[in-house]
């Protein structure tokens, strides 16, 4: 008897859809190669995080309801952005907790977490012969607990490192401050521009000091911010989402 495939609803966050289609494409291709039944529900928009983090949670209810409507049928909801998944899991408490809402909250997974925890795979057969620096985004790290945090007394673990360590030729570089925030923070990036830029600049420098060629992470919003700084200052680092690396020459 053929095993029934897991049915995954692919969630492509709004900014990835509009600005980084290549990240969405890599995520979809990767999931398909991992033999899951992936569907991309049409009419999806956003998780509501930009509003919630700015204090406009009340105005985001329509967005949250639309999200639940779009994704309620799937076994799992998978997206390439830790902070969006964190928002669904932790801040959809503003909706009435119907069985559908609870299901969506429980079954939403960040891409790396889904691959490692649910599919139980770390070696995806990828090859990427470069020096890579990993930015551990805060909402994924401290929010979703994708890895151990430097502040906490616990055994070292990292979902993203588990995956990157299996990539052929990839050299994972050690940086000085392993999990300091990059300073993006959504609207913080605009309303606290000075600090946000300075934090980003310091993160980039840490990777430069460690001879990183490619900067990666599991949350493209942080990467967008860091890439903006790198491009402005014409610094020799390329920025790629972890899905793009894991999808290389499978």
């Amino acid at each position: 008897m053929q095993k029934k495939k897991i049915k995954v609803g692919l969630f492509i966050p709004c900014y990835i859809n509009q600005l980084y289609p290549q990240v969405g494409i890599a995520t979809l291709e990767l999931l398909e190669k991992l033999d899951v039944d992936v569907d991309y529900p049409q009419g999806q928009t956003c998780c509501g995080q930009p509003l919630g983090n700015s204090g406009y949670e009340e105005d985001s209810k329509g967005i949250c309801k639309l999200f639940v409507k779009n994704f309620k049928e799937y076994d799992f909801i998978v997206g390439p952005s830790g902070s969006c998944i964190y928002h669904i899991k932790h801040h959809f408490d503003i909706l009435k907790q119907t069985p559908e809402v609870k299901r969506v909250r429980n079954n939403s997974y960040e891409l790396c977490e889904f691959i490692v925890k649910i599919l139980g795979k770390t070696d995806l057969g990828a090859s990427f012969p470069h020096k890579v620096g990993l930015h551990k985004s805060c909402h994924g790290l401290r929010g979703l607990k994708l890895g151990s945090c430097s502040e906490v007394q616990e055994e070292h673990y990292s979902t993203e490192e588990d995956l990157l360590n299996q990539v052929r030729g990839l050299e994972l570089m050690s940086i000085n401050r392993k999990d300091e925030c990059c300073g993006f923070g959504g609207t913080f990036a605009v309303f606290e521009e000075a600090i946000s830029s300075k934090m980003g600049k310091d993160r980039v420098q840490d990777h430069l000091n460690s001879d990183v060629e490619v900067l990666t992470g599991a949350d493209h919003s942080c990467l967008m911010h860091l890439e903006g700084i790198i491009n402005r200052n014409k610094q020799p680092i390329k920025v790629m989402h972890i899905a793009e690396i894991l999808n290389c020459s499978l």
């Binding site: 204090g55 105005d59 985001s60 805060c138 609207t187 605009v190």
Partner: protein
């Protein structure tokens, strides 16, 4: 002035920002090392949190118990509902002793109540005896950190300040020399003080005694030399029993500076023969904070400053950018409860990275409370028109797939085709130090549709 404005000002001197960031990061790393060497550190934090939760749930009983025990020990106990009452009580005690010279060891509560300027206006000399506190006092500045009050000053700054106020010789910021001179200066103040004022780190309900933690021994020195001791405490400083110090003393110093314990943990249980001891128990908004379910746990705080040392924003904006007695993440959840309008920018001075909650020795969910204060502020305070209209519009557009498609298309078209001067200008804060993403030919939706069509 908002936090962002003051932070931008602080950032004009990048070398100073780098220095400030590194100095505090060093303390954070010391904290990690020292905390992680304690077996069961996370369990200890949970214990600390649980004890504090118990205290807050039974505060009424513990306070009355504490008062009774302190009185039995011969201590005078006073109750102050606000800063004004606190200051008046202290002034009355000083008048009774005809005191003109007061030495104070570090107390954030007396800072909160603005005790120094109040007493000075009555002709009383108040000298802060903690070295860092004395430095900011001489500079006529508020502390910029609750444990390291002069962390914003370099040793060269201190050199100049001491030349001006203590008549020291130029020493190019020689720490040994400067500390030696400060010691001489303070020794004189200690010997001539009429009354000593201290803060309180822990007040033990079971014994009626208070514990003060210092590294310089200045609390002991002040109390033992003066004829009266006034200890000032917020109502949340209570712990049930003396044995609970075994939890909190281990948590406090490691979280604050990475020391296993502060050099001095001074226990004051009763007055010395022939002397007086007073305890002033202060509310000043704490009961109100206790009534706010979402923000109650902020009263767990034991004032270690770990959340400041770890906060990437605090490290790069300096304590004065918060414009509140308690700066940093913990101050940003305490201050809106005191004056929502004045401090409404503080809960937004965070990326919600959560590092503060991870280091907090009593497990306050600081970043979650920051998120919650933001919701309260948007509801109760007038918001900037542009920010408000953008976010309200986003709320509508993102809930309607059709509108979202159209908006996405327009935005991408503009980003791709508009001339550079239209995109990078004063209105675009993003573009000041960062490039915008390069826009591709199609979005993911378009790509996916084409792919489906082509099978």
């Amino acid at each position: 002035m908002s936090h962002a404005t003051k932070a931008a000002e602080f950032n004009k001197d990048e070398a100073k920002v780098n220095w400030h960031d590194k100095a505090l990061w060093y303390v954070r790393e010391k904290r990690d090392k020292s905390a992680h060497n304690v077996q069961g550190w996370e369990y200890l934090r949970q214990l600390g949190s649980n004890i504090k939760a118990n205290v807050l749930s039974n505060l009424d009983e513990y306070l009355v118990q504490f008062e009774a025990n302190a009185k039995n020990n011969g201590v005078h106990v006073h109750w102050a509902s606000n800063a004004e009452e606190h200051n008046n009580i202290i002034n009355d005690i000083l008048s009774k002793h005809n005191a003109k010279k007061v030495v104070k060891s570090k107390s954030m509560l007396t800072e909160e109540c603005h005790l120094n300027p109040f007493l000075e206006s009555k002709g009383i000399e108040v000298v802060d005896t903690d070295l860092g506190e004395r430095i900011v006092q001489l500079a006529q500045e508020p502390p910029s950190h609750i444990v390291l009050p002069a962390i914003h000053k370099t040793k060269e700054d201190v050199d100049e300040l001491f030349q001006e106020h203590l008549g020291t010789k130029p020493s190019q910021g020689n720490p040994e020399y400067l500390v030696g001179e400060a010691r001489k200066h303070l020794r004189d103040k200690f010997l001539n003080a009429d009354v000593a004022i201290t803060g309180v780190n822990f007040a033990v309900a079971d014994t009626g005694g208070v514990v003060v933690c210092t590294n310089e021994g200045n609390a002991d020195m002040g109390v033992h030399l003066a004829k009266a001791h006034i200890a000032c405490m917020g109502i949340e400083k209570i712990i049930p029993q003396e044995k609970h110090l075994g939890v909190f003393l281990r948590l406090l110093a490691r979280s604050a500076t990475g020391q296993p314990i502060t050099t001095y943990s001074s226990h004051f249980n009763k007055p010395e023969d022939g002397k007086e001891m007073h305890i002033v128990i202060v509310d000043n908004g704490r009961t109100e904070q206790l009534s706010r379910e979402d923000f109650r746990a902020s009263l767990h705080c034991i004032r270690c400053g770990a959340c400041m040392n770890t906060c990437p924003i605090y490290r790069r904006s300096g304590g004065h950018s918060y414009d509140y007695t308690i700066p940093g993440p913990i101050g940003s959840i305490l201050s809106p409860g005191k004056d929502l309008k004045k401090h409404s920018s503080l809960p937004f001075a965070s990326t919600l990275c959560g590092s503060c909650s991870n280091v907090c020795p009593v497990k306050i969910n600081i970043h979650e409370q920051l998120y919650k204060w933001r919701q309260v502020i948007v509801k109760e305070q007038k918001q900037p028109v542009v920010k408000k209209s953008i976010l309200k519009t986003a709320g509508v557009v993102l809930s309607k797939p059709g509108l979202y498609r159209a908006a996405g298309k327009t935005a991408r078209f503009m980003l791709k085709n508009a001339p550079r001067f239209m995109i990078y200008n004063k209105l675009n804060a993003w573009g000041k130090a960062r490039d915008l993403p390069e826009v591709k030919g199609q979005n993911f939706d378009d790509w996916y549709k084409k792919r489906q069509k082509n099978g």
